[in-house]
């Protein structure tokens, strides 16, 4: 069930009414939310519910095990439980997401030495959301191991944390430490929060339907279709397609996150922010604090810091960054393009550190000129990486890189509506934060009946203006 479907509107409305009707019945309310979440997940593929349940049960049990072992001073036993959690979660992820990638690599290697490894493929379907919920459950066990969190007593609440439908399929990756305390509190109905939730949902739908889907259907998909098409583009068309793709990817994923955060807010829950106008970043380091924040902070806390972080010598720092960002790349998908994309970001982060080391106090200049240049430079570094991210294979990427040198062709014949979407998309993205906040405050102050009329008008307009059909969210494939 997609967030941008009418079915989801009905589903969310039903859950909303049931939730607030059961606001004084904690157990019933949580059971209802769990059943609704499982039902939501089963709409994609009911068979994979078992993986969700297994992941929940293992970490519920492992979390307790880790805690009890640490209380008893038995670190070996705590490590064993931690290892179990890692083995099961990464095992599931490895089997379903990476098995064919590595088997393919092995197969190529075997062929190179004259062997014939026929049938070395599992052809497994990637369970929706597995990259997200396995990371959530892992964070629970890690945080208990680090002493930041006490294990939860209720399996129902823990299962709800793992499967809570707004963030189940594509994040934000919510830490247990952020969500579980909210389950403890009795929900307090606040009409302003409901207004704010609706505003978030509406904003997300606009980003997804009017920005991402329009740019995808009318420009990006055609340009990035294959190496053959790419070979005909020329640099101006490729740049235009890349700028469009950067906005499409942002609109698609940030739109999803907005709808997730808004949906949760309607039910009285607060999910962490996942995007914060990332194309305003003045450096690549800042970009990663604004783009897919919950994923990058997860890797930062549990991988990068685990490896030693930045308070080490330069070469160790470089190793840590490259390992962490290589894993970030592979997290996005089992393909060399993603691995290279992660390494590219890792290498740039190391390069930025090198530049900083040459500056007094390792600080970049703070004046406006440098701010603008920084934004432009960072955007183009990121945009180039998005070519790699979008290309279906390395052949298409090679073709794209070759095109960057070909300025013999002009811009493609792009309809004015697409220019308008591109212009408005970037303008709204770069709009000062104060304007966005004023817009949100204005919405919240609007009378409820007028909000209802505006919602109806928005539904009709969104339906009319977005390309026909429902385009799935890009991050579902990760």
């Amino acid at each position: 069930m997609l967030f941008n479907s009418f079915e989801y509107v009905l589903f969310l409305w039903t859950v909303y009414v049931l939730f607030w009707t059961l606001r004084t019945r904690r157990k019933l309310r949580h059971t209802m939310l769990l059943v609704a979440s499982y039902w939501f997940y089963a709409q994609a593929d009911w068979r994979f519910l078992s993986l969700l349940v297994v992941s929940s049960l293992v970490d519920f049990w492992a979390g307790r095990g880790v805690h009890d072992a640490l209380e008893a001073g038995n670190r070996r036993r705590a490590h064993a439980f931690l290892g179990l959690s890692l083995a099961v979660n990464l095992g599931l992820l490895g089997t379903f997401k990476y098995a064919d990638f590595f088997l393919g690599g092995f197969s190529d290697l075997a062929q190179a030495v004259g062997l014939d490894p026929i049938g070395l493929r599992l052809d497994l379907v990637l369970p929706v959301g597995i990259s997200f919920y396995t990371f959530q459950t892992l964070s629970y066990t890690f945080d208990i191991y680090r002493g930041k969190l006490r294990p939860i007593a209720s399996l129902l609440d823990f299962s709800l944390y793992v499967s809570f439908f707004p963030q189940l399929v594509a994040g934000p990756i919510v830490r247990a430490i952020q969500f579980l305390p909210q389950l403890e509190q009795p929900p307090e109905y606040d009409d302003r929060r409901v207004s704010s939730g609706l505003f978030q949902i509406l904003r997300g739908l606009v980003k997804k339907l009017l920005m991402a889907d329009v740019l995808g259907a009318h420009l990006v998909d055609a340009a990035f279709a294959d190496a053959d098409t790419m070979g005909q583009l020329g640099a101006p068309a490729l740049l235009l397609a890349t700028y469009a793709y950067a906005l499409q990817l942002y609109g698609d994923f940030a739109g999803y996150s907005d709808i997730a955060i808004g949906s949760a807010r309607l039910l009285g829950f607060e999910l962490p922010k996942n995007f914060d106008a990332p194309f305003k970043s003045r450096s690549l380091e800042e970009f990663w604090t604004r783009w897919h924040i919950t994923m990058s902070s997860w890797f930062m806390d549990y991988v990068y810091v685990g490896l030693g972080g930045s308070r080490v010598g330069f070469w160790r720092y470089a190793r840590n960054v490259i390992v962490a960002w290589g894993l970030v790349g592979l997290w996005h998908g089992a393909a060399w393009t993603f691995a290279l994309w992660g390494l590219y970001h890792g290498l740039w982060l190391v390069a930025v550190r090198c530049v900083r080391m040459l500056l007094p106090d390792e600080r970049l200049p703070q004046n406006k000129l440098f701010a603008v240049l920084g934004v432009l430079f960072t955007f183009h570094v990121v945009a180039f990486s998005m070519i790699l991210f979008r290309c279906p294979d390395l052949a298409t990427f090679s073709s794209a890189v070759a095109q960057l040198g070909d300025w013999s062709m002009g811009l493609p014949n792009v309809p004015w509506q697409i220019w308008l979407v591109l212009g408005l998309g970037y303008a709204s993205h770069l709009m000062p934060d104060a304007w966005q906040q004023a817009l949100e405050r204005g919405w919240e102050a609007t009378p409820r009946v007028v909000q209802g009329l505006a919602l109806a008008a928005s539904m009709v307009l969104l339906f009319a203006l977005h390309p026909p059909g429902l385009a799935p969210f890009i991050y579902f494939q990760f």
């Binding site: 479907s5 009418f6 079915e7 409305w13 909303y16 009414v17 607030w20 009707t21 109905y189 009409d191 409901v194 609706l198 259907a217 009318h218 420009l219 998909d221 055609a222 340009a223 053959d228 098409t229 005909q232 583009l233 068309a237 493609p412 014949n413 792009v414 309809p415 509506q417 697409i418 409820r448 009946v449 007028v450 909000q451 209802g452 009329l453 919602l455 109806a456 008008a457 539904m459 009709v460 339906f463 009319a464 203006l465 390309p467 026909p468 059909g469 429902l470």
Partner: protein, 495 residues
Amino acid sequence: MARLLDLLRWIGPRTVAMVLSLAALELGLYHLGDYGKWIVQEQSARYGWRMLPNQRGWSRDFDVREQTNDRGFRDDRDWGSAPLEDGGSWFSQILPAAPVEEDADLLRIATVGNSMTYGTSVPVGSTWPRVLETLIAEEFVRRGDPRGVRVMNFATQGYTFEQMARIYEDEIRPWAVDLLIWPTIAADTRPMRPATDDVDYDFRRTVIRTATYDMLREQVIDHWLPPAGRGGPERTPRQVKTEFRQRLRPALELAVRGAAPLPTSGDGEERAQLLAAIDAGLARAFERTPLDRLVREVWTELTRPDLIEQARSLGLDLASEAWPALESSLTLELWEPLDSAQKRTPFAPAQQFLWDPRGARLFRIARELQAPGGQLAVLLLPNMHLTLTAEAPSPAVYWQPWSASDPVAQLGSTSLIDAVDAFREPMAELAEVLRARGFVEGDGGQDLIGDDYPFVDQSLFLLRDTGHYNVAGHRRLAEVVFARLLASGALEPAD
């Protein structure tokens, strides 16, 4: 009560305002704006487009009320379910079985066709298939014949030959009808426009029937938004060829091997050899042929005598199997020039490659119908051009290469019904006037017959849409068909 008030508080004025305003918009657009009152079609990869079932609405020009039955064809009656001996179509399988009249007591006639048979701008009761049904029913009453008669009209506006053939295969075949009438004009040989399935989403069929959607489509979607896929770079001939080949190859493979994978023993190896020979032929055609001759060249390769012979030894009629695969694989860039050339000069020798597979297909359908005792009748439809131009080629011309080798007459005495002459005589004086004065040009450049022309009452075509019959034209056509059926003995009870 308190709980109810509580509930209302959560639901809130927003939801109420939203639902009420959407309902008001829908009702307002329907009643005041005349939106959402038409019969709706949906896109379909197999047929190009199909009407939605169970609709009531107006024709596009608000002339007549139209209705589709539970199978999505123009009829105010449901036909029940066909016997599912061979599985039937997906459509018939998902519908609950409805009572069917006993076949023994019913003469069952089906007709395919396009808008000329569908009855554009004519009430359903006045369309020629329904008039024919009435004429036959009256004849049965007059004779004291206890049988009933049902003429099932499977026509859809805009269809060409391949779409009609697919409707026959999916919808008509399971009925094992007594008679299939295949109305045809020269333009039917045009290839079907490449289509994709409507992107599906929840409640899609409900949504596209609403007045709100109708208004949005007309005022916003079709008016302001660029069609999906536009805006990218124009495709090179090589890309068009690649896409055509990528679509054609699996379709041909499916035609040769069927749904199952090829067995390694038995005739599996021979089929693999046939596929390899097809591949070699395709490679030659794709390598050497420019885009404007590609489809014809590919067809020439596929119908090479040695390939046809090789397929025949495997029990395969390659020409019949390959053409639908080829027509389904056309891209828009390949379809457009084919379509416009066939519209301009349907009888030109260069278009022969479009007639041949259709003739062969129709002949195969005729044979298939004969097996359980049915018949095929090809109805050569009159149009305004044929009515005015005595020396114009009859649509029968484009069946000649096929009918010469396998004469239609061999299939039964009802097999070829030429209705063109039957329109010339009653319109003779009006035709003279039209030859002398010409047509009046409509706002959209279309040919109209002036209201003030002498003998205008003779017209068997709509005055403001000369591409379609009026009520009198439909009646005339039905009478011609009825007379032929009567004369040929097709209405006599089977032994």
